[in-house]
Symmetry: C2
Subunit: 453 residues, 2 copies
């Protein structure tokens, strides 16, 4: 079943043509959620909430007045997005928001378009980790092989899409949390440029790195959602200059830099699959030896830990036992970072931006594997690849953090499978604010590799 | 002599009319600098450098081709502005720049207009203090009474203007360093909005608070200089949206808020003089009880110390003995601040901006005394006023830091003298980016109080 999930595009057409109703789609979705309960993809899912929305959508279609093409389509939402109907817990016992008076801006936009907020998905506690193994409802399980993790922190959203429960879901990405589980679960994940999509109502991990983003079964499906994500939101100052979504023209022969060098190691298997995909994609691609990757990584970590500890400061003092031991340890460690260390890291961020703008040869996209290894097994704490031995956590963010540090739009595309049958993803990064151009490059490559339109 | 200094406006007219030449003005300036050597206003002043510039200016006038109205006029420059001809030491033994290949952007602008960079003025070491008592060439002395300090950190520039050596000088202001010595020395000082004037080539104290600004004998004189300060500079990203100088229309009846409350105490004498001036100014003024002043002050200090320690990190490790003991102690203390403390302070900064925009009643300018006390005596470490006992350092920045924390343009105008004959200044603050409107309000008040045109 995993290979033939219905796409959002197909659901849009089916509802428009009347092949089925929002009510029957919702019923089918609930059945499938039950069938795949072993994935542990959902933290909140309420049949009555879902069916009330679905019936209203069906009535609108019957009256010939759908609110939008996605009216009546179920969307799963990561449990760090505020929602009026469901509680928002960030899968932590520390400070669950049992209820909220507001929807996150993106949730509100989808709701206004008639989309059904199906339920809230399992996530790495407070998004502070990339394995989805740390959650107050337990880990998520990879639909391709339950012995393996989904990666995270948007692991529940990825599992819900990859298993075909929903055609699309929302995640958030601070160091790869959309792209990592998308890659590990064999679907498409997109992190917009920083400041392009509203973070209002998405509980922060690190406000200068966080970006909300969609997960889906095709690039076209992702693009169906972007009108509801992109654009200025008066409640999020970082979107002050955000443009609305506007599809880019097709691209002809983009120049792509393949980043290599110290700190950019990957397993032979992943390297081979991604290289083969690049050859098949027939793009103008050259290697670029990128220096200082490890230094920038340390700076990303400092910014992340500082901001996370700042955001959680009150809760950490009020209810330390509510956090898992590992999350609490991160937060306590973050409090020990100095202001000077943070400022030095912020300066490195500015230097990285200058490097990308001025020092690299001309490029349209940067390419890397999304992950250096296929989805790890549950309970395995270390990964070895390319002469490195790193924690499973670090292996997940290994490449992905780079786009957050630089605010770049970034995409994960499935490009093959490991010998053990686990999905492998390719990551593309574009220029800040030029999300649509990156997606156009993604389409070009995806058509060649996966035959998608 | 202190009361009748020649203004920049008068010098512009005299040179234009040919009443005297740039050469004779430069000679007179050098003589006067020698007469007032006891002020210790200059750290670098070289007759041959000055006279070469003056002779070139005279030749241009004789050829009927002056570069600008200020061609040939001597300007004194604080020793933290990079200058090609003079060394730049920031009055520290830690890391003097014996020479520089570049002029600070503002210095370059003035030079291109034919102004004579007279010499470099004494300052508080690295601008890290507001008394001008800590300097590797010794303290500066107040022209109104040598037993008193000038305040700082642009104390040398203030002394040079107040004594009539030059008609105008450049300073920099991170928590009042232009306005404090202007007030203490009975002249006019102006700190532009953050990001309006280029900081390129001005050695930083705290890059998110620093602003370069002029000191002079009248508001008109300050305005003569602003075309050379304001506007976009590709070498300083903070000026990306900076507008060029454009005089505002006269204002009629501005509404001014007089800030009062806890943390806003001042001596009875200063309060009386400033109140009397406000009455004489006949403006629409009402008291506003401002809460949280002390909290914002602590946040300003955290930002300042963090950024200063970050900037000086390498030098502090390489040459700790080069700093004065007190500056070194500040820098070491700044290294102990945590990243979370800095982030909390940055959040308070955002809250302060929101408060000023949304919570206050409508206002055109905010008013406070520039200093809560007249210029303190040399060697006195504590000041008592309004039931407070604070360090002389804190009494200098007492009100001034507020404009830096919020990025507001701010002006100090002399409004009277203490019983002991020391100048008292009034501080006005305007809205960010609306520097010219603040200056127009300043003119209105100045005309009524001081009879200036």
């Amino acid at each position: 079943m995993l290979e033939k999930n219905e796409t959002l595009t197909q659901q849009i057409a089916a509802l428009a043509e009347g092949s089925y109703t929002a009510t029957s789609l919702a019923k089918r979705t609930l059945v499938r959620a039950t069938q795949f309960a072993a994935l542990n993809a959902f933290v909140s899912l309420d049949e009555s909430i879902v069916m009330a929305q679905a019936k209203a959508a069906t009535l609108r279609r019957e009256a010939g007045k759908p609110l939008s093409p996605i009216d009546g389509i179920p969307i799963a939402v990561k449990d760090n997005y505020l929602t009026k109907d469901y509680p928002t817990t960030a899968c932590s016992n520390a400070g669950p928001l049992e209820s909220s008076d507001v929807d996150a801006t993106i949730v509100a936009n989808l709701r206004a378009a008639g989309a059904i907020i199906l339920g809230k998905t399992n996530m790495h506690e407070w998004a502070y980790g990339a394995t989805n193994s740390t959650s107050n409802i337990g880990a998520t399980y990879n639909p391709h092989n339950l012995a393996h993790i989904t990666g995270g922190s948007s692991g529940g959203s990825a599992a819900a899409v990859a298993s075909g429960i929903v055609a699309a879901a929302l995640g958030s990405d601070t160091g790869g949390s959309v792209r990592i589980p998308a890659s590990a679960c064999g679907i498409y994940g997109f992190k917009p440029s920083y400041g392009r999509a509203s973070r209002h109502g998405v509980l922060p991990l690190s406000w200068s790195l966080d970006a909300p983003g969609p997960l889906a079964n095709s690039l076209e499906d992702i693009e169906h959602l972007l009108p509801y994500l992109f654009g200025r939101d008066s409640k999020d100052a970082s979107t002050a200059h955000a443009k609305n979504y506007k599809p880019a023209a097709k691209v002809e022969k983009p120049h792509i830099l393949n980043l290599v060098g110290n700190g950019l190691e990957r397993s032979d298997e992943v390297d081979e699959i991604v290289c083969r995909a690049l050859i098949k994609a027939d793009v103008d691609c050259s290697d670029y030896e990128f220096s200082g990757f490890g230094t920038y990584f340390a700076a990303w970590e400092t910014i992340l830990h500082s901001e996370a500890s700042s955001y959680h400061l009150n809760l950490l003092e009020k209810n330390p036992a509510g956090f898992s031991a590992v999350t609490r340890a991160h937060l306590e460690a973050g409090r020990k970072l100095t202001a000077v260390e943070l400022l030095e890291s912020q300066k490195l961020r500015a230097i990285l931006l200058q490097t990308l703008s001025h020092d690299l040869p001309a490029w349209d996209a940067l390419v890397l594997p999304t992950l250096p290894v296929p989805a790890p097994k549950h309970g395995v704490d270390w990964q070895e690849f390319g002469g490195r031995k790193v924690t499973t956590q670090d292996s997940m963010t290994w490449f992905c953090w780079f786009a957050n540090m630089a605010g770049l739009p970034s995409l994960s595309i499935p490009v093959g499978k490991s010998q053990s049958g686990l999905p492998i993803g390719m990551m593309l990064m574009g220029k800040p604010g030029r999300d649509e151009e990156l997606l156009a490059i993604g389409h070009l490559i995806d058509r060649k590799i996966n035959g998608h339109v």
